[in-house]
Symmetry: D2
Subunit: 363 residues, 4 copies
Amino acid sequence: MFYEFYGFHKRPAYLNDYIMLHFDSDYMRGCHPEILERLSQTNMEQTPGYGCDEYTLRAKDNILRACGLDNGKGDVVFLTGGTQTNATVIDLVAGRYEGVMAVDTGHINVHESGAVEASGHKVITLPSHSGKMDAGELDSWLTDFYADDTWRHMVRPGIVYITFPTEVGTIYSKEELMALREVCDRWQLPLYIDGARLAYGLAASPDVTMEDIAAIADIFYIGGTKCGTLFGEAVVTRHPEWFGNILSHIKAHGALMAKGRLLGVQFSTLFEDGLYDRIGRNGVDKAMILKNGMTERGIPLFMDSPTNQQFFILPNDLIDRLLPAASFELWGPRCEKATPVRFVTDWGTTDDDIKTLLNLIDR
Amino acid sequence: MFYEFYGFHKRPAYLNDYIMLHFDSDYMRGCHPEILERLSQTNMEQTPGYGCDEYTLRAKDNILRACGLDNGKGDVVFLTGGTQTNATVIDLVAGRYEGVMAVDTGHINVHESGAVEASGHKVITLPSHSGKMDAGELDSWLTDFYADDTWRHMVRPGIVYITFPTEVGTIYSKEELMALREVCDRWQLPLYIDGARLAYGLAASPDVTMEDIAAIADIFYIGGTKCGTLFGEAVVTRHPEWFGNILSHIKAHGALMAKGRLLGVQFSTLFEDGLYDRIGRNGVDKAMILKNGMTERGIPLFMDSPTNQQFFILPNDLIDRLLPAASFELWGPRCEKATPVRFVTDWGTTDDDIKTLLNLIDR
Amino acid sequence: MFYEFYGFHKRPAYLNDYIMLHFDSDYMRGCHPEILERLSQTNMEQTPGYGCDEYTLRAKDNILRACGLDNGKGDVVFLTGGTQTNATVIDLVAGRYEGVMAVDTGHINVHESGAVEASGHKVITLPSHSGKMDAGELDSWLTDFYADDTWRHMVRPGIVYITFPTEVGTIYSKEELMALREVCDRWQLPLYIDGARLAYGLAASPDVTMEDIAAIADIFYIGGTKCGTLFGEAVVTRHPEWFGNILSHIKAHGALMAKGRLLGVQFSTLFEDGLYDRIGRNGVDKAMILKNGMTERGIPLFMDSPTNQQFFILPNDLIDRLLPAASFELWGPRCEKATPVRFVTDWGTTDDDIKTLLNLIDR
Amino acid sequence: MFYEFYGFHKRPAYLNDYIMLHFDSDYMRGCHPEILERLSQTNMEQTPGYGCDEYTLRAKDNILRACGLDNGKGDVVFLTGGTQTNATVIDLVAGRYEGVMAVDTGHINVHESGAVEASGHKVITLPSHSGKMDAGELDSWLTDFYADDTWRHMVRPGIVYITFPTEVGTIYSKEELMALREVCDRWQLPLYIDGARLAYGLAASPDVTMEDIAAIADIFYIGGTKCGTLFGEAVVTRHPEWFGNILSHIKAHGALMAKGRLLGVQFSTLFEDGLYDRIGRNGVDKAMILKNGMTERGIPLFMDSPTNQQFFILPNDLIDRLLPAASFELWGPRCEKATPVRFVTDWGTTDDDIKTLLNLIDR
């Protein structure tokens, strides 16, 4: 079934005892062992539901501190998945029938089954530059939009959506983020950052910190699912007044978890003992070892990513040779001789995993 | 206020007694005098509401006959405006959360304030070729879409939307329509034709007839608003079973007219004595006179349209000279020396109107 | 078809030359002759679309003056039908996923095919008292709601909806309206009045004026469809800032009329020369003559209404005798011996109509 | 915070070392230890996402077998929470803008923040009889609805929703379920059973089995959140064709879990070694001990429930005495002398818990 799902060949029987390597995505394992431990320890405790428990409170405190938003300067809510979070946040912040600006490769425009449109908001697209939105292009688009006498017949943007890191592993520099911030300020548009893989983005960035993200974005989410938790995303805003009736809004989106403390336990742990940083660090470190190993072997990069997603152009025969022992994603349709592929590392990837993979290539 | 709306200069006082010429759009007059007469004649009659009257029945009969869909082979319902019709039809035919394929210049993607997304359907865009969708590109897009293992995470198209004539006045040849039909059949996708200006499109077409449209499209609408009625669009389908609970669906969209007979009276008249043809004919004939007059004067075409919308590139000083006496739309932002403009004729445009306009240019 | 629609008997052939009397509803005729005249006079004029014309401006001015909201104290927009208006206004004023409070017989809760829920708002119901909402019950409901610790898991009301007159022809006294206003103020809830038949309500009221309605409601609509126009409802608010992006909101609801001037012409006429008052007056006067005539004949009232809808309990044999010559609505399923029925008068009903009807009864 | 949330008194300091008893709800603990063990064992495994893993396959098989729907007779999908499941299922099964019939106390009508209306479906209510829908009343309502000539202007029901057990702990007999089934068949309406607490309902029922539920309902869900899992609900249907594009539908509702195997691991465990039965059994057994204990002490039942929710009328002074040491829900506002309360047991409740509670009462 696994093979089928990915459209790969059937796994040969002689490999059955072989531990397969998986680089398909960063959501393939359960959760980081430190988180599992805390979930186990607290399992039999009884707490009130819907996020009204001590663990959730502690998670909020931890996160707000990490964001420089403690002392009432911000607020946090927890949801269970990324698509759900994007749809819920955009529907909260954008006005009724207002659209959301995104690059055409943005996750909300591609791989969310129309969840954003499902609550009535058009995704308005700009060209993607290695996954990123260009502040100048955004500004021009907005200038042209409002210069058009018929703009009231078109969909007005009510929020700007970017991802950090992007869907292709790239990250914005602080300067690029500040430029977007400036354009958003000029047009009074809230800036929303989808941080599904934020840990890896921050670990890779030479200059952007969690506090920067919290200060530059009006609202953003700290991804858990791909960064160490079983599930869960923490939505942070420096406009706490936006969360006035947030519980009802979340529940209307079917996104309110009964045992909210599961999110509290996981996120409080994630923001203690530097766990979130360590998770990001490991994913990026292993990705760099992989990238170097591939480059040394003459395998060209399809895209130069500093984070935990690495894109190469692999010869088709190498792909066929690797697949029975290591899984990864073909990035687009199979080409004639060589095909772009994606390898993803995460908090659980080890040096040995990379070494084994490179050995497979060398064989 | 008129000037302001269009972002034009203030009209000079010395022109106050001058009858201004308007070529802004084809929705600027009331209705064709023959329709007004029937509305007046029937005004004091009392009929049941919501389209359950004799006039609506007669309008349906007339239309089905014109479409070659009489004898139970089709059905018709009436709505009041184009955006409303598009949103209601797409939401009827496409499955829940399925998208609609359109070219990027398609009316539903630009000038409908997100009405389609408001009921949960994403507009998926293909490149526009002079306003038209290319059958080959549609086929390729669909091939690629379903070849992508992740397509279930993306928005699946549930309907294909084209306009005849397009937003820039062009029309599909019968061959082009058949090619689209074939692709739709291959992928089992319903084809929907927005006929806001259908009368002008048919009048201009060398080979496409109303019966062709009815046979090629699964569902389409015959525009009234821009083609002689006060308001109203007739939605026709050759799948009468699709209209099983149509009244409730229309009303849920806020689109059910209490005095439905107003639509019945107008559309029954439109399809008697060749009125719809005459209306289309006049719009196109006057447009051709205008195009010839402009071309003779060395004014370049911005786009070559065979229908009632004509696009020229006018020198800015000519624009400034014309505007106090004739209104028309700048097609996009004002350029440095010459700017694309649109002139629209309709059922009410006279030879004199065109002559006066050309005289103004010659002055 | 007419008979079938209403579930009535087939009309006997001998009555074919007989002019049938219709009391089914107040949307059965076209428009008041003075309005038709103005539509005819202006028919060939060309104006900009979407309500950006002089007639619409004039209609707004006339209405704001009639409401005591001129000089920037209010704003007006025009839509085409009642259900559309209710859905659009409620979706504008209530917050995302907030509900609307209404009595269980309220039009939005019964006869609008779920148009309000279609944009995501629950209709929360209170018991109807002859069609009216009781201010005390509203207050109690709200007190209980917010006293319930789980209210955030329920739908919070974001607007209060009442009809004036109600679906059963009754009207609120000024005192009753003020009591509702007070409760709305206490809970910071906007009050919305559906005035589909406002003309008849004001004509019947001993103390409520148009200015009162405009001052007591936060937003309300002046019905045209049932009060003299071909179609159209004027939405008035004393919070003009609520209409900041109203054109886009209306269009996203598919409710923006291209030839907006049709609404402007009709409503400007309606509010000149006392036409709206005269229309309301005629409907109510004729209804009172009918009520008296019926009562004198010993026919019991089913409900005592002061407006243009009159409810009687007619013996079934009388119903059967009347139906071939006069149409009216059975108010609910046919009972064993006598059945509640509704007769509706309007601006076009004449003394003769009533006299003929009463003669038919006497025969 | 805990106390505050429930509107209870502050917990006295002298009780700090005391292990508090919680009977507020059945979602207060983590998950059953056998499930936690399996989650822990499989934590570091890597599997494909979105439910395309072996554990999910196994969970489906287990469930279909338990339902008598193996061998292609049914299908299963997993979602994370109850409100989400209700909104997603109703929006899948009911036609666009069709409503859902429920009793007025139904969870979807009360405590789901309008999630059902958020996707455009009206909740149409019937009176609740101890939480249950009466088949005869449903039949009458439908008869009246379609007898009303105006039904096309009203919201047509597209699905019937009941809960088993109900929100007040009661259960339908097999005969009552069959009666509902018959009415649904007569009107061609799908029957949907919300089984948030299904384990406790089946454990309490003298005659209804899981296979009965699967055969009687067209679609239903087996609740995990309140019956032993951390989260998760399994939606089962005997119409597998309904799940043709279910993944996209679920994702459009923001309800698709990336690490779908978490649901697979939990539900496969739940349906092995009789765990689901044992969980239901424990909840009900402890509830009966509690009920007997209370009754022996002369405390009256507020509602007679055979399942894990027990309703009593407690004297206010007893409530005040218990609260510092045991939590439970006041069922409605505090009354003058005695107040209805709810105590909930679950899979984790022990004999000792009940004994301690009864001792507290006796003190």
